[in-house]
Homo-oligomer: 458 residues x 2
């Protein structure tokens, strides 16, 4: 019996219209990556397991897809491990490769392996799929694309300025106006923890603070208390819950609050430089806003932290994020290489563009011209015309069989074709072809010998 | 100690210049796929194992990369299987997903799953990586891209004609002139076997015949004899070794030889129709040649067989291939859907373009303008200018730190940048910027207030 076909959960087939829309986004992201001087690299879909394992925490290790060794994969398993049936010990013996979990670790591996070929500072972008054995849910998939741009080997804050401009350029080009680029700085978070005397509770503090939007001021205070912050510490942090006003007003408040913390003061200065420089240069359609509750990737970032929110009114998690990390390549033996980067959340950007109806109509037009097929002799003339149209870059096709004309028109309608050409016996005799505008219904005849007349009117 | 990083054997990192060259090829292939009316789809990197296993023969099954189940993967293994240590029985219990081995089986699965959404005839293209646990060797990788275009649900030979034109359009656009599209027909091969009375030895016959180029006429005869063909059968096949002349002359010879075979005569007629129609329409730069030794994918194709050879003088295996298969989707329960398709061999086309020096020079130019960095104040003016250049679509960058100017120039040279801009304190005072043409050494000043003057000269 034939198999009933399906695909693994958490994965997706993409239809022609979906692929075209995704490629539209990729194309715009890629274009701006390149005008900003980023260069593309690509890395293998699977890496040696030791490259990936241990880099994303225990949870990450569990979510990495492992590839079974080829051939007699049990032969490397010693008897004791086999008898113990301990998958934790067995896995590294039967699987030595694993699917990429993100683009950052492979990039770090790439930089170290190719350090002698690379001209630093190295601005690279990478647009490739990653895989995670996460529980699939709405908007979360086991295979999805990441679009990352990172600079390594440059400490200047001008990089952060450029990355804000890059977000702005891409979202403006996508006509996604009003996105908010939220910024924070890991040093500010450290400074706050220091000032409130809860240095060792920084992670607890920021995890709780990050929930301000979700659980409100009282909720955050309660959680901070449960996580071991003293009442005194929480009182000192109180002004943060009501930080408001312009970016510069917020910076003043932060500066005052953190005046006794060296690292905090440094963080405020960095943030101030970035914000002032961006404001001086001007953004096209995005907003830049300080958000001291922003604490993503805490264990990872050491300076700027970015996150992008969709325009107001669109319910959607962040559509981009990033930050600076001071030691990207240390795990692979290359010390003191600072990196800063951002990424674009393709799947969510897609959903936002869909919701706001921002995909250009042309994307759905996979075929501009369909020639009807009236039989063998007529179709030869039609194919000649189609060949000429294609040489002029027009997406054109000949219906492959002389099916009933109704059926052929139905196909043209389904494929959303704007022009349908007929070359029947009468047209052939007259040396003509008839073009029907499918929207207006209007029909125009052209000479088969001068298809240019039609092409120029397209 | 830090890990010494490496990548799995048979996989590759792609540097910026390699990615750009590959994207150049993909871009041209994609453009022509679309002008010929093909629509893109994408399928998941891994499929359920049952979708792939058993579709490529025993050898194929062995070469499919299997993904280990997540979590406690041993729990589905029964005690008897575990004790027997039989990987053949164990594998399906600990691994339920596998990496795509080609694009054809996933396409067939896609067509069946989505048959109610698809408007037939369905012309799809797909450009995605595939994975094979093959022994790596020169030009053979464990991860590589396939670029396939197929039509399903159309029996007309006009499809074959179009596919020849498609090859011609792509290779012409790549400036790869003189490629030879070799054609045969599975029905001709069947006819030959019938005429020589070796019907049951068709596979042996064609495998031997396919080696004519490599081992010569005597070698083929010897191998045919070893494979069980009688001397009489081999004598009858003799004229095939010296088939020559124009396509039409060869067709005449084949027609005569196969006049008593119904299927063979049908094959010659099909081939003749395709060749005559293509010749009537004309090719731009490729040649079309009958090759009765062409027998690729014998178990698979039922009509036309294509294979493309690089231009004469380039030593390289086939750079493309394809054919017609009458029952693509039957394995998944959808009967009587005929398909015909071709694919482009990206890696080999890349090597041929490299050998013939056919990649356009602009590809290597990842940055058009580099602004030197003379310090904080100057760099702010520079960033303003760079922002303006980027808004005009120019690939421009500001060197991220005020390093020694020699070092900055060296970076510009390494990245092959044609224009270097200086805004030092003097220029800043004069409200100017200096553009150095790195090839001619010529320097020109422009006003910072009118960057358009420079942009228009680019």
């Amino acid at each position: 019996m034939a198999q009933k076909p399906g695909i693994p959960k958490g994965t997706r087939d993409f239809s022609p219209s979906e692929v075209q829309k995704r490629n539209y986004i990729f194309g715009i992201v890629r274009k701006h990556f390149e005008t900003f001087g980023f260069q593309p690299i690509e890395t293998p879909s699977f890496e040696n397991s030791e490259t990936l394992m241990g880099k994303y925490g225990d949870e990450g290790d569990r979510l990495i897809f492992k590839i079974l060794n080829s051939g007699d994969y049990l032969k490397k398993v010693d008897e004791a491990t086999y008898v113990a049936k301990d998958t934790g010990k067995m896995t590294p013996k039967i699987s030595e490769k694993a699917l990429r979990y993100d683009l950052t670790v492979p990039f770090a591996r790439y930089v170290v392996m190719h350090q002698n070929e690379i001209d630093f500072p190295f601005k690279r972008y990478q647009i490739q799929p990653v895989w995670r054995a996460d529980r699939p849910q709405k908007g979360r998939f086991r295979e999805f694309f990441q679009c990352d741009a990172d600079v390594v080997g440059a400490n200047s804050l001008l990089q952060e300025v450029e990355l804000v401009q890059l977000y702005d350029a891409v979202f403006t080009n996508l006509k996604l106006e009003g996105a908010t680029i939220k910024m924070n700085n890991r040093k500010i978070l450290s400074g706050i923890a220091e000032v409130i005397g809860a240095h060792d509770l920084l992670i607890d503090f920021t995890v709780a603070l990050d929930k301000l939007d979700k659980i409100g001021e009282e909720g955050v205070k309660k959680e901070m208390s449960e996580r071991g912050l003293t009442a005194q510490a929480i009182a000192k942090v109180e002004p943060l819950f009501s930080l408001s006003g312009s970016n510069l007003e917020q910076l003043q408040a932060l500066k005052k609050m953190l005046q006794d913390s060296e690292i905090g003061t440094k963080g405020v200065k960095e943030l101030q430089f970035i914000i002032e420089t961006v404001e001086e240069l001007g953004l096209q359609s995005a907003n830049l806003a300080i958000d001291v509750t922003l604490a993503r990737g805490l264990n990872y970032y050491t300076g700027a932290i970015f996150e992008v929110a969709a325009p107001k009114g669109v319910k959607m998690g962040s559509i981009g994020g990033g930050g600076r990390y001071d030691d990207l390549t240390g795990i692979f033996g290359l010390k003191d290489v600072s990196g800063v980067g951002i990424s674009f959340g393709l799947d969510r950007i897609y959903l936002v563009l869909e919701e706001l109806n921002l995909f250009p109509q042309e994307i759905e037009q996979s075929l501009q011209v369909l020639c009807l097929n009236f039989g063998e002799k007529e179709s030869q003339a039609a194919l000649k015309l189609v060949t000429e149209l294609r040489k002029n870059g027009i997406k054109a096709d000949l219906y492959p069989s002389s099916a009933k004309i109704n059926k052929q028109f139905k196909y043209a309608n389904n494929r959303n074709v704007p022009y349908v050409i007929s070359i029947g016996s009468q047209e052939l005799q007259n040396g003509e072809f008839t073009v029907k505008n499918m929207q207006s219904g209007e029909q125009v005849n052209y000479a088969l010998s001068t298809p240019k007349d039609f092409i120029e009117n397209l």
